[in-house]
């Protein structure tokens, strides 16, 4: 079960009905055991439902006709080319929004960066980690489907280098293996920061987490209906998470293990 802060970022899209099935299940599971979040959702949902019920009335207020005429008349206003360009340069929401959204994207989850964090992990803790990373997997893909961000191989590699001191080489020509890169995010979980690389394999969300400085035994676990495959490479632990047939998960894991370094 994820924590209250873990699901905090997706409660509002949950109320708005914008989450996919998996992420919704994640929030549902949390709500079953958390009265505080349940009360929050009840209140948020009641206010949302009320506004929706009265939305037509709230939108019934129209601009005065005189204002409509004045604004329409502005269409014929003489335009001085030079000043028009000056104004235009300041008013460019569609372009200025993008970097900000990307920053916000990171800020939503990235609360603290404290360098590489070393974990001590026992075998018994693996199940908890698999559950936690599966929750992150669902949450990050849910946010991604709302924000629709997409990063290139170069952007992800640069991020892994600067954020995790990891000279990662992402698989080349992953598309030939039906793997399409979505992007990367820093994910905070209780023992520190992990790198999260997201792909889609034939449309199925696939997460690869890199846990710096930890040694885990290789393992295959199940969490929330997902498969979690754990392996080590050059002192780093990797966890691959996906919800698909065993054959598909195995195929993806084999490809990633062979091509990601």
């Amino acid at each position: 079960m994820s924590s209250c802060t873990g699901i905090d970022a997706i409660v509002t899209p949950y109320v708005d009905g914008e989450l996919d099935h998996d992420a919704r299940g994640l929030v549902d599971a949390h709500l079953q055991g958390c009265a505080v979040c349940r009360a929050r959702v009840t209140a948020e949902r009641a206010a949302y439902a009320l506004v929706k019920r009265r939305q037509a009335d709230l939108r019934g207020v129209c601009a005065p006709d005189s204002l409509r005429e004045r604004c329409a008349a502005l269409r014929r206003a003489p335009v001085v080319p030079w000043s028009a360009r000056a104004v235009g340069a300041r008013l460019r929401p569609s372009r200025s929004t993008r970097p900000m959204v990307r920053l916000a994207f990171a800020a939503t989850v990235l609360i603290a960066v404290a360098g590489t964090i070393f974990y001590r992990v026992t075998a018994g803790a693996q199940q908890a980690i698999a559950a936690e990373l599966t929750a992150d997997h669902a949450k990050c893909f849910a946010l991604n489907s709302i924000l629709r961000t997409h990063q290139s191989v170069g952007e992800v590699e640069a991020y892994l280098r600067s954020g995790f001191d990891w000279e990662a080489a992402l698989p080349e020509q992953a598309e030939h293996a039906d793997m399409h890169l979505v992007g990367s995010r820093p994910c905070l979980y209780e023992r520190g920061l992990v790198a999260h690389i997201m792909y889609r394999h034939r449309g199925v969300p696939v997460s690869i987490f890199m846990l710096p400085g930890v040694q885990h035994a290789s393992n295959v676990l199940r969490a929330f209906g997902h498969d979690a495959i754990i392996w080590n490479d050059h002192g780093r632990t990797f966890v691959l998470i996906a919800k698909a047939s065993p054959e598909q998960v195995q195929q993806v894991a084999t490809f990633v293990r062979a091509s990601l370094h």
Binding site: T12, E44, V51, L67, R75, G88, V101, A107
Partner: protein, 188 residues
């Protein structure tokens, strides 16, 4: 993004006419939103008029195929913020910061009786309660639930990160719920 893809945007004259018509179609929503910002009809009319003046002058910087309505709302909010700044008061900033420091609301919300009470709330009372919300919450809830913009569009309009938009929507709704309930319970 490519202009050639849309036959609607072929001729420059058509393009201008379409741009102007679509921009003017946003008038009612802009006016309603301006009322939430200024609370004064005359100020709202001024604000909307200035928004159109800027929009028509900056038409060439609009990217065809993107959301023109969201672009107009962004100009409206930028203009409003600039006006406040011109008056050297900057209450928006102060208000927003104070708002982000507000802790979690009490979770006294029960499961049924209170939510049922809210069903009877009529539009004027709801409108008044929305207008009573602190500005940052008011704008987020209004733009999302009444004007139905995407989180990312609202983030662009308000000049805040998308996570902040979501948390303001959430807190705004809960605050609305608490206040309307308190009013209702007082009458029971």
């Amino acid at each position: 993004m490519s202009e050639a893809q849309s036959p609607l945007w072929d001729a420059p004259a058509d393009r201008t006419a379409l741009f102007e018509a679509e921009a003017l179609a946003a008038l009612d929503g802009l006016y309603r939103t301006a009322l939430r910002l200024t609370r004064v009809p005359a100020d709202s009319e001024d604000l909307v008029q200035e928004t159109y003046l800027k929009a028509f002058r900056a038409a060439e910087s609009f990217t065809p195929g993107t959301n023109l309505r969201a672009w107009m709302f962004t100009i409206l909010h930028n203009t409003f913020r600039n006006r406040l700044r011109d008056r050297a008061r900057e209450p928006v900033q102060a208000d927003s910061e104070a708002v982000e420091r507000v802790g979690d609301l009490p979770s006294s919300a029960g499961e049924t009786p209170e939510t049922l009470l809210l069903r009877d709330v009529l539009a004027p009372e709801l409108q008044a309660a929305i207008d009573d919300l602190p500005e940052a919450f008011r704008q987020a809830v209004w733009l999302r639930d009444v004007e139905e913009f995407a989180y990312a569009d609202i983030a662009g309009m308000l000049g805040v990160p998308i996570g902040t938009v979501m948390s303001r929507i959430s807190r705004g709704r809960r605050l609305l719920f608490e206040r309307l309930n308190r009013g209702k319970l007082a009458h029971v």
